[in-house]
């Protein structure tokens, strides 16, 4: 029964219930899958693609890492996280702050602070980011911490569904406006740009940019591995149970808030990691990556690929990002129409995403065999 204050998400017929097998695959199939992905990412792509396209692929893979997290939180947990831009941004800024400090050299201020902030000393909250260990840890842990605090507040009070989606959207808007307002210490609208080096590697060198690609690709595989483990664990089943019937899980003696919190925090960590890798891959992090618009765009790839699976979100994110580039290059003034359709058609007519297409095809061939 649908009620007013809390829309129940009817289980989608096209999304299969999670069993050990679905999405995550059995052990041996998963190994083959990982092997194929590794070959494609490490063997095929670097050979086939030129420097420019490989750089773009690195950017797409960053978006795919965010998508894996969204797949976990939304596809498996039913939480439409429209605030991933916040965590992506926190990770990105943590990384960029460290790289800017390294570029500036010890004891020096980053260029934009001298220009726009007219500061003499580094603000206290920038100081720890001079340490590479702290900055690296912060890229993942800071978003997770923020997600933990926010999640504790939100899930404990059973804010969910549309409430949760709107609230995470408002968080994006608020953080973006706040960062823009602190121009002297955050770079304002410009964000942190003109990043030259990556832990001693010169990012102007094409060879090093290729290395960045490999790091991103490896991170994506690692993130997929983590998501796979989580999905096939008992916890993964519990998460799906919470998605499909939160009250029932509560009556069984679990606390759904904790179950959701774990997925939310893990997804935030993945977004943070993606943001951190986005910085060397693209060379810029700005409030434009945090606001409401990019956060919705993160989600659309997941919806297109198939939200409840493991690889669906990642493939969907890559496909959507690629389509955006390809369309906008060919039709710079009319491509927005196609982008709009990209949001509409898959979600309306293929709710299980492209991943469900494979299932549909398999069923159809099976039927034909029966008929014959």
């Amino acid at each position: 029964m649908t009620t007013l204050q809390d829309p129940v998400i009817a289980p989608d017929p096209t999304i299969q219930p999670a069993t050990r097998r679905f999405g995550a695959g059995t052990g041996s199939r998963a190994v083959i899958g990982f092997g194929l992905a590794a070959v494609a990412l490490f063997g095929l792509a670097p050979v086939v693609l030129g420097d420019f396209r490989l750089g773009l692929l690195a950017k797409y893979l960053c978006l795919a890492i965010v998508a894996v997290g969204i797949g976990l939180a939304w596809g498996r947990g039913g939480m439409l996280t429209l605030g991933q831009g916040v965590f992506f941004g926190l990770g990105g800024y943590a990384m960029a702050m460290h790289l800017k400090l390294t570029d500036a050299g010890p004891g020096q201020l980053p260029d934009f602070m001298q220009l726009y902030g007219q500061l003499d000393t580094l603000p206290w909250w920038w100081k720890p980011f001079a340490s590479p260990a702290f900055a690296l840890a912060a890229t993942v842990l800071l978003p997770m911490l923020v997600a933990l605090l926010l999640g504790l507040l939100i899930f404990r009070r059973r804010v969910r569904g549309a409430y949760f989606a709107i609230l995470s959207q408002a968080l994006c808007a608020a953080l973006a406006i706040f960062l823009i307002g602190q121009q002297g210490t955050t770079g304002g609208t410009n964000g942190l740009t003109d990043i030259q080096g990556f832990f001693g590697y010169d990012l102007n060198d094409p060879l090093n940019r290729r290395t960045v690609y490999f790091v991103v690709a490896a991170a994506l595989l690692a993130v997929l591995g983590i998501a796979w483990q989580l999905m096939r664990s008992r916890y993964g089943e519990l998460l799906v149970a919470v998605r499909d019937g939160e009250e029932r899980v509560r009556f069984l003696g679990y606390d759904p808030a904790n179950v959701k919190l774990v997925a939310y925090v893990v997804a935030a960590g993945m977004a943070g990691l993606a943001g951190a890798l986005f910085v060397p891959a693209v060379g810029i992090i700005s409030p434009a990556m945090i606001g409401v618009v990019p956060s919705i765009e993160f989600v659309i790839g997941v919806a297109v690929g198939g939200r409840a699976g493991l690889v669906g979100p990642a493939l969907g994110a890559i496909a959507v990002a690629w389509a955006r580039t390809a369309l906008s290059e060919r039709l710079p003034s009319a491509w927005t129409y196609f982008e709009g359709l990209l949001f509409i058609l898959p979600v309306v007519f293929l709710p299980g995403g492209l991943a469900s297409l494979a299932v549909l095809l398999r069923r159809r061939t099976a039927k034909k065999e029966v008929a014959a």
């Binding site: 590794a38 307002g181 609208t189 410009n190």
Partner: protein, 418 residues
């Protein structure tokens, strides 16, 4: 609650991690010699040469940037009709920056490495310019930036054809001072240009005995100005210096008039309101207010008459021309002049030709000269007043083109700003 991961999957994760570390270490090179070569490759084979047009055609900035793209195309068409550059037709490749800074960087890289363009024209916001600046520097390729901006920048691979601060903001302040205005209120959008401009204004005010009574910033695209206008009104300032951008201006001026403030009681000097914006705000709200630019549709001269006529013929009689459009139009001709002087499309030769000096063009705003040292251009400052017909008429000009001084080194009060 978690099942302990199976040994096999743990092994996969470990293997992936190990692989990542290996590849990361394997490719370590601190030698960047591979990039420092002759610069970006330019495709000059065939009968045409490509140039890139990089503007926001979608998103919030499209309201301003589409017209810049249009006037760039006009200049290219004219040059092509007159025989092209060095005997080659110009083939424009248009890309959409989508009002998103990382996209600008991506598209700039695409224009340089995929299309092998000879130069790129475009960008509007400072943020988009900052995002593409490293791309052009890294690839040693050229960008022509057509919008007035906050100064404090001098990239060897960017030509700035809009005004820098000493060609727009400083003359605006000089004008207010000459009018006997001794107190100011500063209103701006929250981004680099207004914040930097306001710093300059405050330094100027302090040195010239003017008082700054308040300073407020609204997020880009903000359309709620009732509180800010209340503050402005309560301050009782003699004039307002307005560095708002785009949409916000419409809301600000509608609110301004509603609060009973007028051009007579508290004039507003705006630096981002051109004919296009006047048209969208409406003269019922704007008549009598001041603007500071280097060009107006009404600027006298044969070159401007020709430009206005050509623009209207191509895009419609009701379409006004404005300063950024003129600067964009001029930038294409300046590039042509540099290429012809260099006798080559090669970036370093084009730069050398401009550095040698003497690149001039009889632009719609008057004769402009490229300052080889700063890669900015000499421009005449013009203060204008919005008329009832929606056009802006000049009330004061600097008499001669002002030498660009992006770091304000020639102004004693500005020491410590850059």
């Amino acid at each position: 609650m978690f099942r302990i991961p199976g040994r096999r999957s743990a092994a996969i994760v470990a293997a992936v991690a190990a692989f990542a570390t290996l590849t990361a270490c394997g490719a370590k090179t601190t030698d960047s010699a591979t990039t420092s070569g002759a610069g970006a490759t330019i495709d000059t084979s065939g009968s045409s040469v490509k140039v890139g047009l990089l503007n926001s055609l979608s998103g919030t900035m499209a309201i301003s940037e589409v017209t810049v793209r249009d006037s760039l195309k006009l200049a290219i068409d004219e040059i092509n009709a007159a025989g092209g550059v060095l005997g080659k037709q110009i083939a424009p490749v248009s890309e959409d920056g989508g009002s998103d800074w990382p996209t600008f960087a991506e598209k700039a890289q695409k224009l340089i490495s995929q299309d092998k363009v000879a130069a790129v024209f475009g960008c509007w916001t400072s943020a988009s310019r900052k995002a593409v600046k490293p791309v052009f520097e890294k690839n040693k390729s050229l960008l022509f930036y057509p919008v007035q901006y906050e100064g404090l920048e001098q990239s060897p691979y960017i030509f700035y054809t809009g005004a820098t601060t000493n060609q727009q903001i400083v003359p605006g302040l000089d004008y207010l001072k000459a009018q006997g205005k001794t107190s100011l209120y500063l209103v701006g959008s929250d981004y680099v240009f207004p914040r930097t401009a306001n710093k300059i204004i405050k330094a100027y005010a302090e040195a010239n005995g003017m008082k700054v009574l308040g300073e407020d910033y609204a997020p880009l695209g903000s359309t709620e100005f009732s509180t800010i206008v209340n503050k402005v009104k309560a301050s009782g300032a003699a004039a307002v210096f307005n560095t708002l951008n785009g949409d916000s201006n419409v809301a600000f001026f509608k609110e301004y008039k509603s609060a009973g403030l007028t051009a007579a009681s508290m004039p507003v000097v705006s630096v981002s309101i051109a004919e296009e914006e006047v048209k969208s705000i409406g003269t019922q709200y704007l008549a009598g207010q001041l603007t500071a630019w280097n060009y107006y549709q009404t600027t006298p001269g044969a070159a401007n008459e020709k430009f206005v006529k050509a623009y209207k013929a191509k895009y419609g009689a009701d379409k006004p021309t404005s300063d950024p459009m003129e600067a964009a139009y001029t930038s294409v001709y300046l590039w042509k002049a540099m290429v012809e002087k260099a006798g080559s499309f090669e970036v370093e030769k084009v730069k050398a030709a401009s550095a040698a000096g003497g690149i001039t063009y009889d632009a719609p705003e008057g004769k402009v000269t490229v300052d080889g040292a700063t890669q900015h251009i000499f421009k005449t400052a013009r203060i204008g007043k919005v008329g009832d017909d929606g056009l802006i008429t000049e009330v004061w000009n600097s008499g001669e083109p002002i030498k660009p001084d992006p770091f304000l080194k020639g102004y004693p009060w500005a020491t410590g700003l850059s």
